[in-house]
């Protein structure tokens, strides 16, 4: 792909306390988010959490009930979509079926730079100024098409393109204007798995070259982790946490964030802090101390669990071979909670056969504790102990 | 996710325009009903008031029922439209299925003939059919009214398109289960043909209830007159004299289909739209 640089536009996207309800359902509850110019923020969450609604409000396609949206230092809350200096890539691409690729990319330029007279079907081309502007626009269209490898397809119609090609056309139509903000609504969800991996790199490249602020909505947490500068996790209309992918993964602020991010899902065990401050799982102390007495949830990633001779009692259930790793499915004896361990394939001969009991150990410093409301709770690792008794 | 309704004030211009167009559209009906309830002298006075000064509806409608065999006409309409529809479905559904799902020699020829038939309007067959029926002495009969329309290439085309969208696997599964070809038609295909059949039925009934051309040609006298012909007879008989009764006759003959439409509106509209879009 060729370079597509421009003056990095000023701005960023600033969302303040946006609320939205549909009928009796509160879809967005006072959401605030700041995206700096040049930053790529992935908005991720389960279906129906409100992320697409938020994006459509930023685009101007929907109106918020309360709150404001600013692009750069302009308050755009009351402005029409066309006046906001944003570009959007739709999940279904929304290409105009009757226009060629080149004409599709040209539309945002033509609508802005030509007045109504110049846009008339046949006579428009003869209006004063139309020809020069037309040349300029054609150049920019060509540049955008080159940046996305579409030069050979400029005369085709969307019906003659593959899904991946259509998506590039949608991207080209978005970047041709060099807007201050990009909005992308699950652009990869209609592509094959193999195409997705390649295309997500290209999207990030385009974003870097264009230099604008990008808000990227997806339900796929691996997309969010691999592509974004920061990840915003949303559920039930509110933002649970906004942080770098590393922090989201290793340092989640909420149990819901911990369980949504990461595949396979993080292991959760019911735990309890006693009056002595010791944290126990099913009666077993786990080497953590200092939490307030009461019920807790202990969460530990599959790659941080190990089978051992002593530790938490568990029973093996099934083994899945993934190629680069093994997944051992088990159940915690005392509570019946399901567990998944991710292990290197070399360990296969040593693993407990299905149905047999074994013990688990984990690195306490990597364990996460959450209070009864789901919020992250701190605890100290008992010095000298990196594993369970 | 839909936007909430815009406030009534903003919607008002659109609704006002539509209401104006609607009133213009309904003018003939409004005046038709109004005149059917007025005595002749009021009608001739050409006043613009809709409500009659002297309520004359009973006399007008009474005259209609007395002078023309309303029941007979409506019955004829029912028999003719029903008979046409029955035979149309009887011929077209199996043929449509055969063209859609079965392989047989001559299939392309048959389908080509169907497409050709779509091009030819029914008026083209009128003359020879008239002569033929006349020679056989079948003029002025239900046969003459129904027979020419029993073949509806449009219906064959419609059902073919519809059956093509039925999954092939359904037929294969039925064959594997041991059904004979005829049994498949009877037990598997027909029950699934219901939506297309209702859509077409509406289209066909509306078209033939309205037909004036053919009944005018083959029918003599009132025994076999369809509602359309009945109104024409009444009008010729009155020759511009008793408008009140004429309007009453018009109301009576129009009412059945209009009432059916108002009761089953969605079906009607969908029927016309789907047959239109497929055709």
């Amino acid at each position: 792909m060729t370079e597509f640089t421009g003056h990095p536009p000023p701005g960023g996207i600033h969302i303040r306390a946006v609320e939205k309800r549909f009928g009796h359902t509160q879809v967005l509850r006072g959401v605030s988010l700041d995206i700096a110019a040049g930053e790529f923020v992935a908005l991720v969450g389960p279906s129906g959490c409100g992320k697409t609604t938020l994006m459509r409000i930023v685009a101007g396609i929907e109106q918020a009930d309360a709150g404001s949206v600013a692009i750069g230092d302009r308050d755009v809350t009351r402005l029409r979509p066309g006046d906001r200096d944003v570009a959007m890539v739709f999940q279904s691409y929304a290409l105009y079926p009757h226009l060629t690729v080149a004409e599709n990319i040209r539309v945002p330029l033509a609508l802005r730079r030509l007045n109504a007279w110049q846009r008339l079907p046949l006579l428009g081309g003869w209006m004063p100024g139309a020809a020069d502007e037309g040349h300029r626009m054609d150049q920019e269209v060509r540049r955008a098409a080159e940046a996305l490898g579409l030069r050979a397809l400029l005369d085709r119609r969307p019906a003659q393109l593959s899904g991946g090609q259509r998506q590039r056309v949608a991207l080209a139509r978005a970047i041709v204007r060099r807007p201050a903000a990009f909005l992308m609504d699950e652009p990869l969800s209609n592509l094959d798995a193999s195409l997705r991996v390649q295309t997500r790199r290209e999207i990030v490249d385009i974003h870097r070259q264009a230099g604008a602020a990008t808000l990227y909505v997806t339900h796929d947490q691996s997309e969010a982790l691999t592509m974004a500068d920061r990840v915003a996790v949303m559920q039930d209309g509110e933002l649970l946490q906004v942080a770098t992918p590393e922090a989201i993964y290793a340092d989640p602020a909420d149990l819901r964030v911990a369980t949504f991010i990461g595949s396979p899902r993080i292991n959760t065990l019911p735990a309890e802090a006693g009056t002595d401050g010791m944290v126990r799982v099913g009666g077993h102390p786990v080497g953590l101390w200092g939490a307030r007495p009461g019920p807790l949830t202990l969460a530990i990633r599959p790659e941080d669990l190990l089978p051992a001779a002593t530790g938490l009692p568990a029973r093996a259930e099934a083994l899945e071979f993934l190629g680069e790793s093994l997944l051992l499915h088990a159940r915690h004896e005392a509570t019946g909670a399901p567990l998944v361990l991710r292990l290197p394939p070399e360990m296969r001969p040593d693993l407990p056969p299905g149905g047999s009991a074994f013990a688990l150990q984990f690195d306490t410093s990597r364990a996460l504790l959450f209070g009864p409301e789901g919020h992250r709770v701190g605890a100290s690792v008992l010095s000298g102990m990196h594993a369970l008794v | 996710m839909s936007e909430p309704r815009p406030p009534l004030l903003r919607d008002a211009p659109r609704l006002a325009l539509l209401a104006l167009a609607g009133v213009i559209m309904l003018m003939p009906y409004i005046w038709m009903v109004a005149a059917s309830m007025k005595p002749l002298d009021e009608i001739f006075r050409a006043s613009l008031s809709l409500w009659p000064e002297r309520f004359f509806a009973i006399e007008n409608y009474g005259k209609v029922f007395a002078t023309i065999p309303v029941g007979r006409y409506l019955w004829n309409g029912l028999v003719v439209c029903g008979g046409i529809l029955f035979f149309q479905l009887l011929f077209a559904v199996p043929a449509g299925y055969a063209l859609a799902k079965l392989r047989f020699p001559g299939k392309d020829l048959v389908f080509g003939a169907v497409m050709l038939g779509l091009l030819v309007p029914p008026h083209v067959q009128a003359l020879p059919l008239y002569v033929a029926f006349s020679q056989v002495g079948l003029l002025n009969s239900y046969t003459a009214l129904i027979a020419p329309f029993t073949i509806s290439v449009f219906a064959i085309f419609l059902f073919r398109q519809f059956f093509r969208s039925l999954p092939d696997d359904l037929i294969h599964a039925a064959r594997l289960d041991g059904f004979s070809e005829l049994a498949i038609v009877w037990r598997v295909v027909l029950p699934n043909a219901w939506p297309a059949a209702t859509a077409f039925a509406i289209f066909s009934v509306v078209a033939h209830w309205n037909d004036l051309f053919w009944p005018l040609i083959v029918v003599n006298g009132t025994d076999y007159a369809t509602p359309a012909l009945g109104v024409l007879f009444f009008r010729s008989a009155e020759a511009g004299d008793d408008f009140g009764a004429l309007m009453a006759a018009a109301v009576i003959m129009t009412a059945p289909l209009v009432i059916a439409f108002l009761l089953a509106q969605r079906r009607f509209v969908e029927g016309i739209a789907t047959t239109g879009l497929k055709g």
Binding site: - | W31, L48, I151, P227, V231
Partner: protein, 299 residues
Amino acid sequence: MALTRAARAPWGEAAAAWMLSAPAVLAYVLMLALPTLATVLLAFTDFELGATGFRWIGLDNFAEMLSDRGFGISLRNTLIYVGLVTPGSIAGALALALLIEAGLRGRTLFRAVFFLPVVSLTVAMAAAWQYLLHPTIGPLNAMLRLAGLGAPEWLSSSSTVLVSLAAIGIWENLGFNLVLFLAGLTAIPRELYAAAEVDGARSAWDRFRLVTWPMLGPTTLFVLTITMIRAVRVFDTVAVLTQGGPNKASQVLLYTMYEEGFTYFRLGYSAAVTLVFLAIVLAIMWLQTKLLDKRVHYV
């Protein structure tokens, strides 16, 4: 004979197919193919009902048509009628469809109101129109007189009769086209409008040009063809209201065909007129296929 199951299967299928199609094929031949052929042949004879014999006269019927002033008028009137009814009922239906589709309130109600003429008995409504347009006692002229405008003789004057019939024709066809346009409009994906807004389409006209009109292409073409064919087939209103008058001012093709065939019993000549009618219908459909290839279908 030991036919294997596989060998028997296609035979069974073909036999079944022929059995299923047989009634339709028979009806087709009897009621469609043979009569059409007969009409074509008739057009080249001088057959008259009740006459003893008839001769093959070649193109004489067509020659007569060319020199007959009455036929020329009939053809011209039909074309004028089509030329009035087609744009009127299409533009009107499109405008109303856009208005209805633009909001949520009253969709079902207005759709029903405008569709009513389609399910109303044409003959009966023609009688109602006759009353409405009556020069002396009709409400329309009563309103015009009240407004101080003239009171034209709509259906009784040769200068206004065709326009009046065309107005009735528009009234009859509007609802049908409206329903088709509504179906076409609802099929347009909503996201295209959202994309157009983000791209900068500000006014309703921009959205119409960029999304609505192109996406309605196939529907519009279909409506155009259907309307033209329905208009060419005009008969009921002429038969009920004017019988081709005054002075042939509202004579139309099908009425000429009817008169020649069943009033004067000149079946050969009437068949020739029918062929002209058929030729026009075929021309319209050919036009449709030509346009279909090129510009209208994008998927």
